[in-house]
Symmetry: C2
Subunit: 368 residues, 2 copies
DNA sequence: CTGAAAGCGCTTACAG
DNA sequence: CTGAAAGCGCTTACAG
């Protein structure tokens, strides 16, 4: 390090007219402008030679290469244009928030497919704020991203319009539900999942089943709720609105939602939470009340995040193939980016009920 | 959509000599080559005009703009060079695996800082495979990334060497422990954390404390173990090697590690797992044996992943400021990328014991 | 609002 | 192994 810095000042002394050198802070006069031409002059070689070194070609004499590499490093050279052949292939993956294990699953899937195609995955969070979204659009443009995967965002319509204008392919994972969005979407069979979870509880013998809902503006929330309702109807169990409480997919709302449910004159014997995190919150609420899961109350979640195998007790839940959804989405944008056709404008991957240890038949009613 | 496709074939008909058009698969003769020049010819305007549209300048007649935009979209135009001013600023964040809530925390921190500086965060996983790493290096080079943040990887030395050659700044989060790595590193005070966790159990009155270790090749694992040992020594409790079992930070190993511990002739009254995930595995092992946490056995974890507040019972653990570490790392690479000095080559952020509900004084020994 | 001209940062044959 | 020359894909004044 020290050695480098020493050499650097030598260079600076000899070549004081270069805009800004590495190791110096911005000097009013602006951004540093380290070009291949400047490096060539400095190294006493031609521009093509530097170009060759930069591109790791083999036909450069070892000591020329070493000298040029040193200079490149010292001046902090970065390419200013991209080689025509290997355009930096980039794909943008945009979340509202990066605050849930949910997100990694999707990232994992997208990254796997993208990486295999030599494409980089740029991950961003826009926090449903128009400002952040605008900044992101600007960056997207600067980096000439080849495609965008957007995950459940209220900003869907705005971004879609702008991206369409720029001709950047867009795929939406788990669409929030903008009606006229004509981008391909990838989701899960939420309605069927809601049916399956509720059906499972019904089969165990539960008749009073509480439901902790997700944000009502999201399509997936509504589909899960409707699945719950349909299963009850199929079983001839009347839908009781006081058993349906609101939530926002986060732990806390599962906790309070469950408290509300258990404070009912006639509390439910089972709770279906529309997300795993809310299910965990619900279990905590029950634990605090001294109620055991599943002996006293059964709990079902939705998502099947990997850690749910290890919750206490291991959670019965509806598996949503998040990584698979990510992969699908990545394949779809990549195909579009290469000018291919999209095979399905709207796709729903299957959900699957995973029965673990948080559900059991209802406790026999206390003989009161 | 349909409309677009129709228009597109008109264009193709008129202009059959362009290499490959959008909507057509690769046609042997190679990659499509949609340049601003081609678009200009097609639109019957000059090259500068198309350039203006592409860059969203305001001084273009509305219908010229519309016509050009249509063409750009239809041909799937992507910039082939980057505007000198706004070079796509990119930062690479590299994990071994994207399989833990651990990762999101770091991503969140890095993204926040990078995004604020208009820098994109490219997330990759290299799975400790030299092949994947090589592919990634190639991509990194193509996208001219401005800096790299590497998270705990056995590939540290190789990547460091190569990146240094390219003059790309590198910061390592939670270094695996390559001895001669002269890149800045950001970690947590693992040793102090190990001390604190063990000290807490000691204070509660525990004397037989099991330890489920992390992978021994990682510095952080060794530091946590040494912290555990030191705390015991301070308290005058002899270190008993049969109470130390191996693990790999994942749930499963916590489960089996805890089983081993509880099968001991004289099992521990408390277990300190070197990761939250192993702590969860341990709790599950205890649950299966019918042992209650914390009444029968206390459990402490390490990391304080956000979901640990909601485990059953809420987990006492050592908080590692992962998002903060990500932010630090991002600031450090960004500063380096701008030619600034690094303020600290090696940084450890403080860990903090978070006491929740999984620890309690040991149960009185059964009077046998 | 638009284009002809000059310029920039590279890369790609080609010749030695 | 190296450079002079031509070329490419853009952008930036400048003039109208």
């Amino acid at each position: 390090m020290l050695k480098n810095f020493r050499r650097e000042s030598d260079v600076v002394r000899k070549q004081g007219n270069m805009a800004v050198q590495r190791g110096n802070k911005d000097q009013g006069d602006g951004r540093r402008k380290v070009t291949i031409t400047a490096i060539a002059r400095e190294a006493g070689v031609s521009v093509p030679t530097v170009s060759r070194v930069v591109n790791g070609r083999s036909d450069v004499a070892p000591d020329t290469r070493a000298r040029v590499e040193d200079l490149l490093r010292q001046y902090g050279y970065r390419r200013r244009t991209v080689a025509p052949g290997d355009r930096a292939a980039l794909l943008d993956l945009v979340f509202n928030d990066l605050d849930s294990p949910w997100a990694v699953e999707i990232i994992r899937g997208v990254e796997e497919v993208a990486h295999a195609s030599g494409v980089g995955t740029v991950v961003s969070a826009i926090h449903d704020r128009a400002g952040a979204a605008r900044q992101w659009m600007k960056n997207l443009r600067a980096r000439a991203s080849d495609g965008v995967i957007l995950v459940t965002s209220a900003l869907e319509p705005v971004l879609h319009k702008e991206l369409h204008r720029l001709g950047v392919p867009l795929v939406v994972i788990d669409p929030a539900g903008s009606p006229a969005l004509d981008a391909p979407t990838i989701g899960a069979t939420n309605w069927a999942g809601g049916m399956a979870a509720t059906g499972h509880l019904l089969e165990l013998g539960h008749r009073r089943i509480g439901f902790i809902a997700g944000p009502p503006r999201l399509l997936c929330s509504r589909a899960r709720l409707d699945g719950y309702r349909s299963a009850l109807e199929d079983a001839g169990v009347p839908v009781n609105d006081e058993l349906i409480v609101p939530g926002d997919f986060y732990h806390e709302s599962g906790f309070t939602g469950c408290e509300t449910l258990m404070a009912l004159p006639e509390p439910p014997t089972a709770v279906f939470a529309a997300s795993d995190q809310m299910a965990l919150g619900a279990i905590e609420a029950l634990r605090r009340k001294g109620l055991r899961v599943p002996q006293d109350v059964s709990v079902v979640g939705f998502d099947d995040l990997p850690e749910m195998r290890w919750s206490a007790p291991p959670l019965t839940t509806v598996r949503q193939p998040l990584a698979e959804m990510g992969k699908m989405a990545a394949r779809t944008v990549l195909r579009q980016a290469q000018g291919g056709d999209i095979d399905a404008p709207r796709l729903e991957l299957a959900t699957e009920l995973v029965v673990r240890a948080s559900t059991a038949p209802p406790a026999p009613r206390p003989a009161d």
